[in-house]
Symmetry: C2
Subunit: 320 residues, 2 copies
């Protein structure tokens, strides 16, 4: 029941993609991949699917889709403090559009090489456009960051500037107007999210809990709080917002986007106050900001003048 | 950009599915799964996607779809002689049909438990019906069965009775008529394929090459031959055919189905003639038959009277 030419598609688009790794004992081309794990490490596995019209616009260019399907999985690894190594790709395509496929492959390939990930297997089929990646790798035993370790009194941190990706999506959908460099920057933040793998690795032994922001800061922070059996008090004034975001959206909408828009793929994490100096000195590609604290009271609350009511209203949906 | 209620869907359908395993350090519910590998083993990873209307009828019942998406991956493991352990499931669904989902989950769950596989992660999204499973597990270092090890003079073997699944599909599509137990048997062989994991494990150290039959015996044997830089001479008279298949299709069509229909998920493997006695005595749930030999001449040829021309014609498509 396979498409004629599927074999050739697989050969062409799955061979020699991503990084070359010596621990790949058998890659694409057999019934499964064989891989050498470092001794004493724990295996880490993540799987994410992205679907046209749901996670990306149906007319998105191939490069952005190839980038995204790997980036969302790399972001899961970042949130675990895990070392990515090997990827498998399931790609379902309505028709064999070689230009789109080349762009998809190059978007995937560029990100995979940058993070040292080899493509070791996969499956292409005809069907509605969607893509699934399984990412595999490891952590030294006992060092993985989890959602459930936050303790009352811990500082609450975020990487980068949340809300930018949400603004980029709003621009794409015509709900927000922006021009020039501001527009380009916000579109790039939505279309080509940058997973914070280096930061996640640096946070091992420091962060008590960590999650990546895919559904929105408030929603994902609520998951971290639930898993930790704790709550969070967030100071709106300390929430970092990019110049591009405030220029495009204005202060009030910018804060709302930073709190509730998804697709940022930044890391939210907790750490004891004693670790503050170490965290500020981390050599990561992205800045981190302390934005509040973990509380005994469950739920996510936001301090910050006029925004309190909006925010509280916004969170009802997620936080129960 | 996630569906409301997705979290609840994941909670409900992904929790405590499949076998309980002590080597699952962290399962469903965080950003990735954490797993303990046995020391000295090689990691094995396979990924297969099945799409409605392509790999199964769009109106197939949920149980058959849940079974199939795991079975095709288990079959890849069988072909490698690998021990399955952990699965991740990406499920894309047009709407939240709870009855269908319950059936899907039970089909998946039943097969997973039977093979000792834990469901450790996944992702549900709204979209056109398709499912992807990544299966992870291991082999003792250096023992994996590959496609590329067949040597001229090796015997060629197959498990079970190929062609049954193809006849089942033909019945479903109204291209073949059958009634009663014959019909039931052939439908079951298409809808609920049985992966030959136990046989694959038993063949480690015996088989020189192995592949599972997903695209058809001739097509998959051609892949084994290409990978081994060899050919195969197949004796049509020795090709096992089930009573159900010959009853429904007659002798000629039965042979054609056995040679070229897909979806059987039987194992085709090569082994030295000296191993014949050991192979015949293997304690496997399925019978195996010697059906020919590996040759120096490349390509797949079929011996067997009146069928030679048909068969040769059929193989032109695959064998180049």
């Amino acid at each position: 029941v396979n498409a004629p030419g599927e074999f050739e598609l697989i050969e062409r688009f799955f061979t020699a993609r991503g990084a070359a790794r010596e621990d790949v004992l058998l890659g694409v081309g057999d019934d499964a991949a064989l891989l050498a794990m470092p001794p004493g490490a724990e295996l880490v596995l993540a799987l994410d699917t992205i679907v046209a019209g749901r996670h990306f616009p149906p007319d998105a260019n191939g490069r952005a889709v190839g980038h995204r399907v790997l980036a969302v999985n790399l972001s899961d690894f970042a949130a675990m403090g895990a070392e990515p190594a090997w990827a498998l790709l399931g790609l379902t395509l309505p028709a064999s559009d070689e230009i789109w496929l080349d762009a998809f492959a190059s978007g995937f390939d560029e990100l995979a090489r940058r993070f040292g990930v080899a493509l070791v297997g996969g499956d292409t089929t005809r069907g509605p456009l969607c893509a699934t990646v399984t990412l595999a790798g490891w952590v030294p035993a006992g060092t993985a960051l989890r959602r459930g370790g936050a303790r009352p009194g811990d500082d609450l941190w975020i990487s980068g500037t949340p809300g930018d990706a949400g603004a980029g999506l709003a621009i794409l959908q015509g709900r927000l107007a922006a021009t020039g460099a501001v527009r380009e920057e916000l579109l790039r933040r939505f279309l080509l999210p940058e997973p914070r793998v280096q930061l996640g690795l640096a946070l091992r032994g420091i962060a008590t809990a960590c999650i990546d922001v895919s559904d929105g800061l408030a929603a994902d922070l609520a998951k971290l709080c639930r898993a930790s059996d704790a709550g969070a008090l967030l100071d709106a004034a300390r929430l970092p917002r990019s110049a591009a975001l405030t220029t495009a959206a204005g202060d009030t909408a910018a804060l709302q986007l930073a709190l509730s828009a998804g697709d940022d793929y930044e890391l939210v994490f907790s750490a004891p106050p004693a670790a503050r100096r170490r965290i500020e000195k981390l050599d990561s590609a992205v800045a981190v900001h302390c934005i509040g604290e973990i509380t005994e009271v469950p739920g996510v609350r936001v301090e910050g003048a006029a925004l309190e009511r909006d925010a509280a209203h916004g969170f009802d949906h997620f936080d129960d």
